[in-house]
Symmetry: C2
Subunit: 217 residues, 2 copies
Amino acid sequence: MEFFDNFLFEGIEESQCCEMMKCFGAREAEFQKGEIVYDFSRNSNSVGIVKSGSVQVIRDDINGNRVILERVEEKNLFGDALVFSLSIDSILVVAEERCQILFIDYSQITKRCSKACLHHTRLVENMFRLISGKVLALSERVEVLSAKTIRDKLLCYFNILSAREKKRTFDIPFSLKTLSEYLCVDRSAMMRELGNMKREGIIKMNRRSVEMLNFVV
Amino acid sequence: MEFFDNFLFEGIEESQCCEMMKCFGAREAEFQKGEIVYDFSRNSNSVGIVKSGSVQVIRDDINGNRVILERVEEKNLFGDALVFSLSIDSILVVAEERCQILFIDYSQITKRCSKACLHHTRLVENMFRLISGKVLALSERVEVLSAKTIRDKLLCYFNILSAREKKRTFDIPFSLKTLSEYLCVDRSAMMRELGNMKREGIIKMNRRSVEMLNFVV
DNA sequence: TTCCCCAAGTTGCATATGCAACACCATTTT
DNA sequence: AAAATGGTGTTGCATATGCAACTTGGGGAA
């Protein structure tokens, strides 16, 4: 069963987890690829833990445009920021592949039960940590997207990776195609700019491994 | 003293607030314009409530680039997402003008004390609501910035405003200059594009008031 | 092996956009 | 009243970028 093997329950012992799950009235379900896991426009009082597989959180706006807000993978949580939102658009959670989801009523998380106070505290902390991580990832992304030129976007993102590794050499964590999507620029234009930067001696680069040669003033 | 007049303590009675503040060991301080209110690279165990005035949350990266991550105004909270971060960059909170700040040790918020359990629950909920709001605002901004052309950025943002008002007419909540900064595009280029859109009959617009004429497919 | 698919890398072209410089108007300051 | 300030609106120009159309190379399936 392993309720405990996820980031929300990290640091809480298995025995306590099981007890808390009963206390929470948690329910588990399995979904096939493409199935709707949860519809936040209908009800928004649960968070979901992805025990296996992955899901997409999708916004359909009034014009029918579909935007992927988030991909949520194994051990992670969805809905943590949505249970409080009073959104107009319909927000759906859709299975990206076959997946097992554990639903917990969010009020059970903030509420305290009589027996498990210590663990509730840890649970709340974990929840904060998860949402905080999202805030940081998003503000990082805004920072990168704020740069006007492709070169500045690349340098901004490379600086973040470089700082994260504390080294001037690092690997890009996804394919160059995906990188161009993350930066919201045309892939070929990005390749061209990377070529320029190599030629000008700003970076060395082979496939996904990058070395920064100059500090950027 | 009015500890309670802010979004973190919303829904908690004044008398309870005062009691909780003692229990929290909250401390209050005043800062002048430009002073450093808090340095998250030195310590990161407090959140701050802006009781009056406003502050900026600033990131200085390794190259000395300064980016404004957030403006925090009266009644709002800063540090809610930062207490958990293990950032490399130095993150500073600086007074934008003369301001009064109330500092609370974050562990006091998640922890439960013996007397004020019910109010702790409400406090935790408020905290979640505040962070969730940030997640939503940020993902909205990412969505807007994701659009490649200036026209698409404008339409994306206008659609959000239009949906928020549930009307095809609405006002832009800040100056056109600030709008161009929000969209991260050149102001004159944005003006030019707005002109094109008016001429093509996509929008009507006068100063900050906008009417959407067509659904965008 | 051969075939197929996808990421990586390149190039030409049309145009969207940043930049600079300007005029206009309303408000505030001196 | 005159001057300074700041938002709004416009235009010319150079170029960065999106788009389309390629080639190349590696890894997996038949």
